[in-house]
């Protein structure tokens, strides 16, 4: 229990540091976001009005406190580009990103675990080498390049849409049924998710392989085989189940790179999620939105890490006992 409290405390502190960093980058450092408000043909009065509106004329520390208090109220500020609250600007894209992100992670896990298990089971063979090198090559490919290749060479073969989240023709003849919308959205989801999955699966495969090699060498696996259990049962019930632990850690640790991958994948597929919102904010120098996106993404990643750590503790009684024994 005490471990849980410590772990939550750590997560909260990390969020605080990230948020402070966010403020520091945009408001304190010279040549930072404030100069983004500079415009060529604005009058001095207009500039001052803007600066006053965003509270940039107050002392830095006061600005920081206001920033923190607003954040605690869920207020991420106001977009410079369209004068809307940042949260309403990015909550829609965030909701669009979520299914794509989850589907992509799922693809990565499925391909990774399968390839890792096959590799470990057939270690030293041509199959192992083949799958190892394939994982390494995909690991080394920039995700956005995989996306470009998919857009150019795979989309037309599979007959799947290569851009957007929904067909523009959908709903043109009256409201589309819920089912039709779901089907259409899923079709638009497949390629981005596939790209994200393929770009990420390499490390999942490599970790599964090493974890499986370790568990396959354990005595209980030998016992299971001696009992005459089928290969599939040995892998599934004895080897893979114990190899899940490092995988959980890895998935949590790669939450950051999954989010990063999603940003470029969305850019490639013009998928209106948080990644595309990021690119738009960059192009419009919309710093409040960028700031908000950073806060939201960082908090999500930190929470994902926290969840994985707590899950890890639940999954492995040894860790639970050890941690509680030491700290409590």
């Amino acid at each position: 229990m005490s471990y849980t409290i410590k772990r939550v405390g750590f997560a909260v502190l990390t969020m605080f540091i990230a948020v402070t960093l966010d403020f520091f980058l945009f408001r304190v450092l010279p040549g930072s976001a404030v100069s983004g408000l500079r415009c060529q043909n604005c009058t001095l009065q207009f500039k001052q009005a803007i600066i006053h509106q965003y509270g940039l004329d107050k002392p830095k520390f006061e600005q920081y406190l206001i920033f923190l208090v607003r954040l605690l109220h869920g207020d991420l500020g106001t977009s410079v580009a369209n004068n809307q609250p940042v949260w309403s600007d990015i909550s829609g894209p965030l909701l669009n990103t979520l299914p794509m992100l989850l589907a992509g992670t799922l693809v990565a896990i499925v391909i990774g675990v399968l390839s890792g298990v096959v590799s470990a089971w057939r270690r030293g063979t041509l199959v192992d080498r083949g799958s190892l090198w394939t994982s390494l090559v995909f690991y080394a490919m920039p995700t956005q390049w995989i996306g470009v290749l998919v857009v150019f060479y795979v989309a037309s073969v599979l007959g799947l849409p290569r851009a957007g989240i929904q067909s523009s023709t959908l709903g043109i003849l009256g409201t589309a049924s819920t089912w039709a919308t779901i089907v259409d959205r899923t079709r638009h989801l497949i390629l981005p998710a596939l790209t994200l999955g393929v770009g990420l699966y390499g490390q999942f495969a490599l970790v599964t392989r090493s974890a499986m090699l370790e568990t396959l060498g354990e005595d209980y696996v030998l016992t299971a085989r001696a009992k005459g259990l089928s290969n599939l049962t040995v892998i599934r019930r004895h080897a893979l189940r114990n190899a899940t632990l490092p995988l959980v850690t890895l998935i949590a640790l790669s939450a950051g790179s999954i989010v990063g991958g999603a940003i470029v994948v969305e850019d490639v597929f013009s998928y209106p999620g948080i990644g595309l919102a990021t690119v738009d904010a960059i192009n419009q120098n919309d710093y409040p939105v960028l700031q908000g996106i950073f806060v939201v993404l960082t908090v999500s990643v930190i929470l994902a890490n926290l969840a994985a750590d707590l899950l890890y503790m639940r999954l492995d009684p040894r860790v639970r006992r050890e941690l509680d024994g030491v700290t409590g």
Partner: protein, 322 residues
């Protein structure tokens, strides 16, 4: 701890004192012999790319932002890799872009290793509260997702190569810090380090003559791994339009192939070369770095990119052969 304790440990270990302090050079040559084909291959490829980065701009047949023919003209003897969406020579851009990628890769890796290495050495050597504080800070930065942080930093400061180097370097120091700290901590416990301390060597001297030379090979391995990360990060930044718009880079080439609609011209020559270049150099750096790390620090072998043969207890069916 008394001197006799240390000596008795040496006696117990049955080691002549001279062999207690391993000589880095001897270890390095030993390692060279043990290098796998993978590491050799990776090193060869990296050398080739470094060479290209050095002389690329000199041997590039055309100027980088000069329209030398039709948009997306197909490969021909005068343009082996064809032209891109601006009518620029793809081969020339690829050669000059190599310099951007390698400069960013190398410099950012060095920056991150300098920061991470310093923090790791201090934390590991000083120990105690300093260690606790430094590692806490490292932990916090380890969890903050690197790519969003990189994007906002690049959006605020970026758009020139020097800033991008600094940003990538400042973001990727955490892994090096943890790794080096672990290594330094284990070195501190070695008999020859403890004996040097007992003989009255100053902390600085112990650090520079006994600790730093021992962690240098690991630092180098980590630098090589970091080059892969940094090159990757550069393509991200350039792809999102946060790179330096005036210098060609592989990331920018990938971006322009997508934005320029290379597909409608079936211009594979604009799409494939930059991506292949990134993949090959990242793969090479990964192989070298991982291979070096594995051979330098066998205890790290549960590392995340384990490319090696595992020694296992014999499985069913293999028992007779053992």
């Amino acid at each position: 701890m008394r001197i006799s304790d240390v000596q008795s440990e040496e006696v117990l270990a049955g080691l002549p004192s001279a062999t207690l302090a391993p000589r880095p050079l001897a270890r390095a040559t030993e390692l060279l012999r043990g290098w796998s084909a993978q590491v050799m291959l990776g090193a060869a490829v990296m050398t080739l790319f470094l060479l290209v980065a050095l002389i690329g701009p000199a041997i590039a047949p055309y100027a980088v932002h000069a329209q030398v023919g039709h948009v997306y003209a197909s490969p021909s003897p005068s343009h082996p890799l064809g032209l891109d969406n601006g009518g620029y020579d793809v081969l020339s851009n690829l050669l000059v872009g190599a310099r951007t990628s390698m400069i960013v890769g190398l410099c950012a890796a060095v920056v991150s290793i300098l920061i991470g290495g310093t923090i790791g050495v201090i934390a590991g050597y000083v120990g105690g509260r300093t260690d606790g504080v430094l590692m806490r800070i490292t932990d916090y930065f380890l969890v903050i997702p690197d790519i969003p942080l990189m994007i906002i930093s690049a959006a605020v400061f970026g758009r020139n190569t020097r800033n991008i180097v600094v940003i990538i370097g400042l973001i990727y120091w955490t892994t090096a810090a943890r790794l080096i700290r672990a290594q330094v901590r284990s070195l501190r416990q070695r008999v020859y380090v403890r004996r040097a301390e007992l003989l009255g060597a100053s902390g600085r001297r112990v650090l520079w003559t006994h600790i730093v030379p021992q962690v240098t090979p690991l630092l180098i391995a980590n630098t090589v791994l970091m080059i892969a990360n940094a090159i990757f990060a550069e393509t991200y930044i350039a792809f999102l339009g946060l790179g330096n718009p005036t210098t060609p880079s592989w990331g920018a080439m990938i971006q322009s192939s997508l934005a320029g609609g290379a597909i409608f011209y079936h211009a594979w020559w604009a799409v494939l070369p930059p991506g292949i270049a990134v993949t090959v150099v990242v793969l090479a750096a990964t192989l070298v770095g991982q291979g070096l790390e594995d051979s330098l620090n066998p205890r790290l072998r549960a590392g995340h990119l384990a490319v090696r043969r595992f020694r296992l207890r014999p499985l069913h069916g293999e028992l007779e052969r053992e």
